[in-house]
Symmetry: C2
Subunit: 234 residues, 2 copies
């Protein structure tokens, strides 16, 4: 398996490339519109064929590259049925997404947004904005719900083996990876906190709105594609 | 082995943590002064003891955390004899640095600076600013020499197995890792270029001076430690 973590410095967003070395089939998780050329170049250089683009959720802080990548490569866009209407395949908890010989297991992990998914592939867990390294996604817009997020993290993600590698959708402190065990013990929003504590903490954060909320959410509901009909952009 | 790639967004610098899981002995390669607290926290959380700090070279674009880490942990600072006089152990091509049960092999790879080292540990190559992903370090200050850099990359680094993972000291495009084979084939400064071509290319770059050159080089010759005698800071 070929695995690459890619970073968009402007929005501190991680994109992940996973590919089956035997067949050359590849997946991108959470690509960023401004980085599409970089990502396509890497795919070309490694002789890979993009077969799917997976979205962990409808992002509010950057515009997805999914629609443009679909147009350029024919890849299918995969996400939650609660998310963008523009996707090709809607997946639910327990579904399997095959990329050549790779298997990505779909986990529903709502709470940051109601459409949030995580993906598990070969000991690597891609958590989007549900579980971050020593943090979590916020829960104050896009039908976020702190109780739901607590349940998703503690009942779904934290039940995976402790050495499962955690690859988040963002990091703002320069961390690239953690593990389930490390987050159980050292995530300050979760370690030793009850569900009620967590809800109280999240409701008290009073964060400013995400920088690109008004632009990013409508754009991402259209898979980031500026040429889609306006009817899909609301 | 525990391995972590860490990023300083302000200077696009990568720091690497390597640790022997059996003994808890750890090494940091190219720590950044402003990130010392983050790095110490991670060491504490993982129950690790910092035994060595390795410098790939005297940096011109950020101040090292080596001196402060040494003071806080007792770790030994390891670098080239051509670099900072403040280090504890000066190493040469072919030397071995042991970190618990881990072995880091020292490779002299001058040309970006005359003191540039790379380190090889268990299939991972830490190249500092000699070889970058799809690029190289510049060669126009600190006794840089494009011919020397070409030789170091093509005769030392490119003779390693093709699947050796390349972890650079910086990246400005959001790449985190490459391989020797990928760089041989796709590095635009090297692929298909003769030594003469490379020298011509590097001599024509006409880059502005690094932002922190005047501050960083003297500070790094004192291991980044503001309390060292002034005599060591020149």
């Amino acid at each position: 398996m070929l695995f690459r973590q890619l970073f968009d410095a402007e929005t501190s967003t991680y994109t992940y490339l996973l590919a089956d070395a035997a067949t050359g089939a590849a997946a991108l998780i959470d690509p960023v519109l401004e980085q599409v050329e970089r990502d396509l170049k890497l795919l070309r250089e490694r002789g890979l064929t993009l077969s799917v683009v997976l979205e962990t959720h409808v992002h509010a802080d950057h515009v997805t590259g999914a629609g443009v990548l679909r147009e350029r490569t024919g890849a299918a866009v995969v996400a939650s049925p609660r998310g963008a209407p523009c996707v090709d395949r809607m997946v639910r908890h327990g579904d399997l997404v095959r990329v050549g010989g790779l298997e990505l297991h779909v986990l529903e992990t709502p709470g940051h947004t109601d459409d949030s998914l995580s993906f598990l592939c070969d000991g690597r867990l891609f958590t989007g904005d549900a579980l971050l390294i020593r943090g979590t996604g916020r829960t104050d817009f896009q039908n976020g719900d702190p109780g739901q997020l607590y349940d998703a993290i503690t009942r779904v993600l934290f039940r995976l083996p402790e050495d499962t590698e955690v690859y988040p959708g963002h990091d703002y402190a320069g961390h690239t990876v953690s593990t389930v065990g490390e987050e159980k013990r050292h995530n300050p929003r979760l370690a030793g906190r009850s569900r009620e504590d967590f809800i109280f903490l999240m409701q008290g954060l009073r964060l400013p709105p995400p920088r690109k909320l008004d632009v990013a959410v409508p754009a991402n509901r259209a898979c980031g594609h500026p040429l889609l009909p306006r009817s899909l952009q609301v």
